[in-house]
Symmetry: C2
Subunit: 109 residues, 2 copies
DNA sequence: AGAACGCATCAATTTATTTTGATATATCAA
DNA sequence: TTGATATATCAAAATAAATTGATGCGTTCT
């Protein structure tokens, strides 16, 4: 039983690690910030973030692969938006982590 | 005023980015998990994580530089522990981010 | 004092991530 | 059909992060 819990933690940790890694970049953070205003097409994101097309596309892919954002195509345009479920997941994970740290301040024997 | 707020966000974002980056690594996550049980010296962390001394030391430095953990020396040993303030900061930041994403799901015009 | 221990740091190498410029693909407009 | 636009993808180069083994430094033990 302990083992199962441990394994679940490892799994959750590696999932969370993926989200964190995608989020832990200033450029991608800017993209997230832009998308926090609402769904947006790549060309508008280029203007907002002042990134070259290829570069932006790369970071959008990282974010999309992580699950933090989703895309939808409409005609020539591709629209990206945040996937709030992923953010909720992340928030829950951190809250759990913090909860599990109740003894963290206890000095060593 | 808008500019000031924007600048504050950028600053907070880059701060958060540092924490996230440090946290977004499976090995460091393991270390954090070990430390969540309480303060621990490097030699015990080595046993718990099964990492070579130099490698562990490197990751401890990354975590320490980010502010997620602190250290204290006592005799020959160095004890590390989580800095819960940093975790609180991170949780708050994510909560804020999520809050600011209320319009994020709104489709583009 | 000398030896062993616990840990940090450094240089060299390996590995991973990011950037850049070029090219490809699909859609739309003329 | 031809040309332009929006975006993705690819390969090469640049940059950054991690690993390894060696060495150094302070502390304790004998």
């Amino acid at each position: 039983m302990g083992a199962v819990v441990a394994e679940e933690n490892v799994l959750a940790a590696s999932q969370a690690s993926g989200l964190l890694k995608a989020l832990a970049d200033p450029l991608r953070m800017e993209v997230i910030q832009s998308l926090s205003e609402g769904e947006c097409c790549v060309c508008d994101l280029m203007k907002k973030t002042d990134l070259a097309q290829s570069r932006l596309s790369f970071h959008l892919k990282v974010l999309k692969d992580s699950g933090l954002i989703t895309d939808r195509q409409s005609g020539r345009w591709v629209y990206y938006k945040l996937d709030l479920k992923a953010f909720q997941l992340l928030e829950d994970w951190i809250a759990d982590l913090k909860k599990s740290c109740k003894n963290a301040a206890k000095p060593c024997s």
